[in-house]
Structure formats: C-alpha cells, structure tokens
C-alpha cells in the first residue's frame, strides 16, 4: 500500500488536463506516444468535441522512482459539469491527491476554483502545476502569485511544465509519489470498495470502477452491493491500463474494475459500497446518494416510423447510463414518443446528441420541465413531470415544486449582478460567507425549475466565468404553479405547453409567442399564435400568410430543374411537423429553449 498513489487532475477547461494525462501515461510506458495523440482519457467523441469529460475513467500506471523505487499510480479522471457534481465527488473520494493545472497564459479561472474547492472538500493534497510554459504569452510570475494567494503555499511548491512539449513531466511524477500520501486501509478488514464509476460492456454487462478502502476483493468471491442490497460474484477483477488487466485480487488502497455479472448499470450505482457477502461490512463508505433525474422532456422521433428504433436505442443507452430514465408517452401533436428523465440540461443534450449520432435518429425534444408534486382535489398526491398531465388548477389542487439549495462562490465584484439574477429566478437568499481572496459564498434556495434552463450559463456570463455553482435537492415547497398552453390557430399544441410560476406566466407567454413567430415560416394560411392559461388568452401574435412562392419562368428547359426544386421544397416540408394545418419546423421545439438569448 505504501507504494500506491491515487490522484486526479483538476483544471479549468482547455488548461491541458488531457494533454498532461497523456504525457503521464506515455512517460510511464502505459501507452505509446502514438496512442497518446488520441488523448486516451476522454474516449467518447462527444466529450472531445464539447471539451467536457462526462464519464470518469481510471488508469493504472507503473512508475519507477529513481530514489524511492517502484510505484503504482492510479489516475482517476473526473467529469467537469454541474450536472455531474455527484459523480465528480465520488471520483474525488477515491483519491488522496490532485494535480491542479493552471494555464500559464490564462491564470486561475473559474473552474480552477470550483474544482479546487471540491477537491479541498475531500481533503485532497493539492499539487499545483502551471502548464503551457512554452507559450510566448505565458505569464509565469503572475500565475505563481495567483496560486500562492489561492493555496497559501510556497512558490517553490509549484511545478512548471509544458504538457505539449513534455517538459517537467518527471518532476510531476516525483511530486506525486513524494507529496501525495499513500492510501490508508486495512487489507484484512471486511471489504469496503467505493464505486466511483460504472460503464456498460456489451458482452460482460455492468463494469463498476472501484477504489478498495479496506479488505481484499478476490476473484470468485461473493460480493454484496450495500445500498442496492444485491448479491453477485466477482467474476473478474483487475486494473485498467489501456484495456482491462485481470488480477486475482484487489486490496485496500488499490483502484481497478470488477465484473459482477449484472446486466444493468443501475445495479452498480456510483457511490455504492461493495463488500464481501460472507463477511459484510457494517460500516459502508459515506456519501452515497441515489442520483435521480431532475429534468424531464419528451423525446419524439421526427418520423413516426422511427419509434421502435428510438425505443431500442433508449434501451441500449439506459444500460450505460444509470441516471437516465424513460417511459412511453403520447402527444397529440407529436405522436408516440418517450418522456425521459435527465440529471440536467447538459445531460439531456448529451443523450440527445448520442441518440442522433450513434443511433442515427432524428429527434424532436420538447421543453424540459421538473417534477411537480400535485395534491389533487380528492387528496391524492401525484408526481407530474409533463405539462400535458398537469391538471387544470382549481383552489382545491395544490402544487409543490422541487427546491434546491445552491452554493455560489464568486469574487465580490459580481455579487450585485448575481443577486439580481437570483431575484429574477425566485431565489430565496440564505446567507453569505466571506472567503479569503475577496471571494464570497452565497447561499440561496431556488426552485429547481428556475435553475435548469440557462441559469448556469447566465451565472457564468455575468461573472465572466468566475462564479461557480453547486447545488443539491432539498425538498418540495408549495408554489403558485400553473400550466401555460400554446395554441396555434385555436388548437392547443400539447407538446408546447409549459409549467410556470404564475408571476412569470405573462412574460413566458410573450416570449414563447414571439419566438414562435420567428420560428414558424410564413405558409399558405395565417397562423394565429396564442398563449393561454385555461381559457384566458394572455398573449397573442400571428404569422401572416405567405403570398408568393412560385418561380417566374417555367419553359421547356426549366421543367426538370423546377421539379427538382420542388422536391427540395417537399423535403423541407417533410422535416416540418404538421399540427392541424400548421407546419412547425422541428427545430422550433428545441429553439424555444433558447428564448432567453433575446433578452
């Protein structure tokens, strides 16, 4: 155990986390330098493109220190978005230390801070590393001063590297083994292993990634998932290099994978503790939370014949993603589809993109909503996560909406702007804590519905990226919640209904109608767009009928060309959703999400 080091890398996006990870893998001979070009840790396309790491992974490296001898280093990757805070916290819980990367030309940035706070919250030993010192624009002194200020460390403790050119990498490894403490634990105690991630393998089923804290897991032994209360057998276990490397056992302090032979990642929940079934621990590892979807939206195939394909794809996707839920739903406007649950909007976008890309589906997504708790007239309490199911409200019906408690860390200068944003989002102010370095932590309670849309983006934009957000669900509270319907030519389009707070209904009615006016093209008929609450119209506008769509000349030489143009036009129409006599572009449903852009 003394020669094991478990650590992660935390950084603001683009500061070089992946590049540095590749260098470490390369210098320890875990991968060849050719392989390094692919940036091994982020292995989903999508992650690379969006510059975010969604799934945490782990790699074991062998390192020979010139003075201290052989070490086993486990590098654990962490996702970097507020939707996945819980996953990040489990990954951090598996480590004893973290490399904090700061770009020499950019200095300390917002995510540097938010990730640092998370790491400090887990008592990790921080090794500050300044990257990109090769850049002409590198400002080494300024960055050193910032870090000293931030961590209260000595300038001499800060490493300076160029991950790209491979400068200073041995020093990083040397610091890892010297500064980060070895894991502690009792290899003879009852097994306690933390699941910090879980992937799905088509052939082997769920494969949890684990950090063993106590005891020794052995191949073939019966195991128990403490929170899930399911018993399995350790069919295979081992460490991760580029692929899986099976071993006979994993002991306290080690990091690796285990194949329990379960068909579904839902049984191998992140944060759960694995123990031995014969000699179970009565002290599971702390911090387990069953992450539940917080945001719900309808997913519909643009072409109805894709329904089965969509269902199969969702099924496959759910195998891989424990926090994603789905069930069939029907919309008058969009036909047969599914109501899906996500951790947050980013998660939703990721799922949507994967479906479109990996499964080649063309989707229509409805406006996302949270889950409301509604007490009906007869006293029955139901959970409603779809506007269409929201009953017409009467005095006898009460609605409670989910609230979160949010922690916003911000440099003091953005305080005012953030207060304003919070007020606009129905935030309930709790308290302020003053931190060193002229920063503050603001504590607020928010209705979740006000945070899911673009709160995070707006927070980032008004604080020029510096404010960080962390939140957790705290319960339901009664609110004046109503359903707002959108009517096109007098017909309610169920897929466009939203659930909003009464005070915001008018504003939303205005925004949705005017956005729809932009999105719906002029067509053969006038399109009346109205927003209504029950039978009361609160906003209206219309799209005037198209008056000319014809090519002027059509003689012998034009007939073929014109027919092809017409085919294109028909193709365009087929990509529209026909609702009553109105044609709505598919993009309109999602584009409504971005109504805030115009403000």
């Amino acid at each position: 155990m003394q020669n094991i080091r478990n650590f992660c890398i935390i950084a603001h996006i683009d500061h070089g986390k992946s590049t540095l990870a590749d260098r470490l893998l390369e210098i320890t001979g875990t991968i060849s330098s050719q392989q390094a070009h692919g940036q091994v840790l982020d292995n989903m396309d999508l992650e690379q493109e969006r510059g975010i790491t969604i799934k945490a992974h782990a790699v074991t490296m062998n390192y020979q220190d010139p003075e201290l001898g052989a070490f086993v280093l486990n590098l654990i990757d962490t996702p970097g978005h507020v939707d996945f805070t819980y996953e990040v916290s489990r990954s951090l819980a598996a480590c004893e230390g973290a490399l904090l990367i700061v770009d020499a030309s950019q200095g300390v940035q917002a995510q540097t801070l938010s990730n640092l706070y998370l790491a400090l919250g887990h008592d990790l030993t921080i090794i500050p590393v300044i990257n990109k010192i090769d850049l002409p624009s590198a400002q080494l002194d300024v960055t050193i001063a910032q870090i000293v200020d931030l961590l209260g460390c000595e300038a001499s403790e800060i490493l300076a590297v160029s991950a790209k050119q491979g400068l200073g990498i041995p020093e990083v490894l040397s610091a890892v083994v010297r500064r980060i403490p070895a894991p502690k634990g009792d290899p003879t105690a009852p097994v306690r292993a933390l699941i910090f991630d879980s992937i799905f393998d088509t052939y082997r089923g769920a494969v949890p990634y684990i950090r063993v804290f106590d005891g020794t897991l052995r191949k073939g032994m019966p195991i128990l998932f403490v929170h899930n209360q399911k018993q399995y057998q350790a069919e295979e276990l081992g460490t991760m290099t580029l692929g899986r490397r099976p071993k006979e056992s994993l002991s306290a302090g080690e990091v690796g994978y285990i194949i329990p032979g379960c068909k579904n990642v839902r049984e191998t929940r992140v944060g759960d503790t694995i123990t031995g079934a014969r000699e179970p621990t009565d002290n599971p590892l702390p911090g387990y939370k069953l992450v539940k979807p917080m945001v719900f939206a309808g997913l519909y195939p643009a072409a109805s014949e894709d329904y089965t394909n969509l269902r199969d794809s969702l099924e496959k996707l759910a195998l891989n993603d424990a926090s994603f839920t789905w069930e069939p739903e029907t919309s008058m406007a969009l036909g047969f589809g599914f109501r899906c649950g996500f951790l947050g909007l980013l998660h939703m976008e990721v799922v949507q993109e994967r479906l479109e890309r990996e499964f080649n589906l063309n989707l229509i997504t409805t406006l996302p909503t949270v889950e409301y708790q509604v007490t009906l007239e007869d006293g029955q309490v139901v959970l409603i996560e779809s506007p269409a199911k929201m009953p017409v409200l009467s005095r006898q019906v009460t609605v409670e909406e989910p609230f979160i408690s949010a922690e916003i860390i911000t440099p003091a200068e953005y305080f005012g702007a953030i207060m304003k944003l919070a007020l606009d989002r129905r935030g309930v102010y709790k308290s302020t804590e003053y931190l060193e370095g002229n920063r503050q932590t603001l504590h607020y309670d928010f209705p979740l519905a006000e945070v899911i849309y673009d709160f995070y983006d707006r927070l980032k934009s008004i604080s020029r990226g510096y404010a960080s957000l962390d939140y957790e669900f705290i319960g339901y509270r009664q609110s004046d919640i109503i359903r707002l319907d959108i009517m096109l030519n007098g017909e309610i389009v169920d897929a466009l209904s939203i659930i909003v707070h009464k005070d915001k209904a008018f504003e939303w009615g205005q925004r949705l109608t005017s956005k729809l006016k932009e999105l719906i093209p002029r067509q053969l008929f006038d399109v009346a767009i109205q927003a209504s609450i029950g039978s009361k119209i609160i906003a209206r506008t219309n799209v005037r009928a198209l008056r000319k769509n014809v090519t002027a000349k059509c003689y012998g030489g034009d007939i073929t060309r014109k027919r092809k143009l017409l085919e294109k036009q028909r193709e365009g129409k087929r990509r529209m959703k026909q609702i009553g006599s109105v044609e709505i572009p598919q993009e309109a449903f999602m584009a409504l999400l971005r109504v805030d852009d115009d403000r």
């Binding site: 053969l524 008929f525 002027a552 036009q569």
Partner: protein
C-alpha cells in the same frame, strides 16, 4: 380532356447576346462574333439532321426561336431553318412561329424580313418603359428604343406581338408602373408577361445581393405590385393564363402552353431540352463542344433523365397549378389513378383562403393562387 396535343413543338436556342444582363442565367455568350453567328445556323441544321429520325413524320404545332437573343440571327438564316423544318416535318399551316427579339437589335426592315421568313409571333423583351430601371437591369435599350421596336413590330405584319416585362427591382412602385402601363396598353400587345425578378445562382445580381445590396423589392411589395397588375390587366381584357403570362383571349402562346401541358418537343442548340413523354434530354450548355461534336458528325454532348411515375405526377401537378385552368382531379385520376384523400379538404381550405375556386373536381387558382403555385404543389405532393 386537356392534355398535350399530339403535335410537337420545336425549340431553337440562340446563345448570343450583345451584353449579358446581370440577372440572367440562360446560356448565352456575350459579344457577338460575326463568324460564330454565321456558322451557327449550319450547326443547328446538322443537329436537326442527326435528330430528325426520332421525330420523323411528326406534326409540328409551334416553333420557338429563343435565347439568348434570336433577333441577332440573319432573317435569311431563319428562313433556311424554317424551310428545313417544313421539309422534315409536317408543320401545321396554323403553326405558331415565335421569335424573341430585343429592342436595340432590330429595326423596321429586320422585323419585316423576319416576318417574311415565316415568323408570325414576336416576343419583345421590353422589360420596362423607364430608363432608370432599364439601366439597373443592364439592358441595351432605353425607353424610346423599346417603344420604337413595339411600333415596328405592330406594323411588320406579325399575327401576334407579345411583350416581356421585368417586375421586382427596388425602384418600382405602382405609380411609376401605371404610367408605363398606360402607354404600353396603347399598343395593344396580344400578350404581356410579367417576370418577377428572381435570384439565380451565379449571376452578377446574386453576387450583389450576397454583398448586401438591396436588389429586390420586398416580398409583400412585390406581391402587391403583381396583384395590382392583375387588376389592370383584367380591366384591359387580358386573361391570366399562367403565373407570369397574360394574353387577350385566343392569343395565348401555343408553344408555351404546350410545355405546361407536357407536350413533346424537340430542342436544338446548346442547353436546349427535348422531351418525348418518358424522357427528357438536354444538350450541355457549351457552344464549343456543341460545335466540335457536330463538325465531327456526332450528336453534341447531352444529359438525360427518364421520368418515372412519381416524376411525371409531380410535373403534372405543379405545371397545372401554374395555369388558370388549374388542377383537374378527374384528369389526374385518369392518368395516375386515385388522388390522395386529403387533397379535397386541402383544396377546399385553399379556396376558402381566397386563392382560387374548387368545385370538387377542378381547382382553379386565381391571381393570388397562381403566385403560390409552388407552395400549393409542395403541400399537395406532401
């Protein structure tokens, strides 16, 4: 039943213009080299020689010299071509023989000669009776020359004279047009075509539009203008027989109607299309290769497409919707079998919208409906 008549049409493309207009996408070469112009009729005759077998013995109902600027042809060459057509095919005695002429390229004598060569319908590219707009459109002529050409055309002896106008530059209002219009009507043209200026890719006008210049009248203003013309034309006794075309009753262009009713036609010259019912083929728009091939005794390079039932159906629907006679569901059924159920309700609501009339069998678009022909076609064809 209104279907293509059994005669064929002949189209002769003349790919020369003194100067290219900035909006035009037709195949045509700028600047007129006398040798090319002299040699060109020869090439046409060679092409005819190579193609005639397919069309042997057909009756010809109309011939159209289009361009480009066919009025640049020597009337004697027109005569030679006409003689060749008469020798190879049965040209109806009442056949409509049209030639497109641009003001500025014709004088009194030339028009008389063209008439003597067998042309009985002259289509005159007037475009506007306003010098500012003629400059914007890059035309050769001014208003005076246009009126002069019109006068000569009326006295040269043609059976029909029709006039092309270009609508939709940003310089127009109903007022400016009304004045031009009043003058134009004094000449009593048999037909008037209003072509809405459109953006054709690759043209100079398209580039100007891309660079942000306002080169078109906005959608609603253009429509207002076109509907204003419609009222004026109707008052003057003209029939709106196709999207862009008006004529005094009985003076409609037979050749053009033949296209719209999917009649068969033989096209000669680079870029010219031929259509034989199931197949459309066209010479590539290159005079160089056209000329080279024919000089070697071969057919010019061409492309073709075979029309399946789906293509035939689309063409039939959209072409009928471009005509005031409209879409006849009984005819459709005879040709293609039953029509989709939703058409009836759709055509009813389109009529209720004020775009035409529908009696359960025939949908006839009105002036507003004709301007939406493509939209309606796309809707019907789904």
């Amino acid at each position: 039943m209104r279907t293509a008549d059994s005669t064929i049409g002949i189209y002769v493309h003349v790919p020369f213009c003194v100067r290219r207009c900035p909006y035009c996408a037709f195949y045509s070469l700028e600047g007129v080299a006398p040798e090319l112009l002299r040699e060109y009729p020869e090439l046409l005759l060679r092409e005819l020689e190579l193609r005639k077998n397919t069309w042997q013995g057909q009756r010809v109902g109309s011939i159209f010299f289009g361009g480009g600027t066919p009025s640049l042809l020597n009337p004697l060459d027109v005569k030679r071509l006409m003689q060749a057509f008469r020798a190879e095919f049965q040209v109806d005695s009442a056949a409509e023989i049209t030639l497109e002429a641009n003001p500025g390229t014709v004088d009194e004598q030339r028009l008389a000669d063209l008439c003597a060569a067998g042309i009985n319908r002259l289509s005159l590219g007037v475009q506007a009776l306003n010098d500012q707009r003629l400059i914007f459109l890059g035309r050769l002529h001014n208003r005076e020359q246009a009126l002069e050409a019109l006068r000569f055309a009326k006295t040269a002896g043609f059976l029909k004279v029709s006039v092309d106008l270009m609508v939709g530059t940003p310089l127009e209002t109903t007022d400016t047009w009304d004045r031009e219009f009043a003058i134009l009507l004094e000449y009593q043209p048999d037909g008037i075509s209003f072509y809405n200026l459109t953006l054709e890719e690759g043209t100079r006008l398209a580039r100007r539009a891309q660079s942000g210049e306002k080169v078109f009248l906005p959608h609603d203003e253009a429509v207002d203008l076109l509907l204003h013309f419609a009222d004026r034309m109707k008052a003057a006794g003209y029939r709106h027989y196709e999207v862009s075309n008006w004529a005094l009753p009985g003076a409609e262009s037979r050749h053009n109607k033949h296209y719209w009713n999917r009649g068969h036609y033989l096209g000669l010259g680079p870029s010219a299309h031929s259509f034989s019912g199931k197949r459309r083929e066209w010479n590539l728009p290159t005079l160089k290769l056209y000329s080279k091939a024919l000089k070697e005794g071969m057919l010019p390079p061409n492309q073709s497409e075979n029309l399946g039932i789906e293509e035939t159906r689309s063409e039939w629907v959209y072409l009928n919707l471009r005509q005031d006679e409209g879409l006849n569901l009984v005819h459709f059924k005879k040709k293609f079998g039953s029509w989709p159920q939703y058409w009836k309700a759709m055509l009813e609501s389109i009529s209720a919208q004020g775009l035409g009339s529908f009696n359960g069998e025939i949908f006839s678009p009105n002036d507003s409906g004709l301007l939406l022909a493509d939209e309606i076609a796309a809707r019907l064809l789904g």
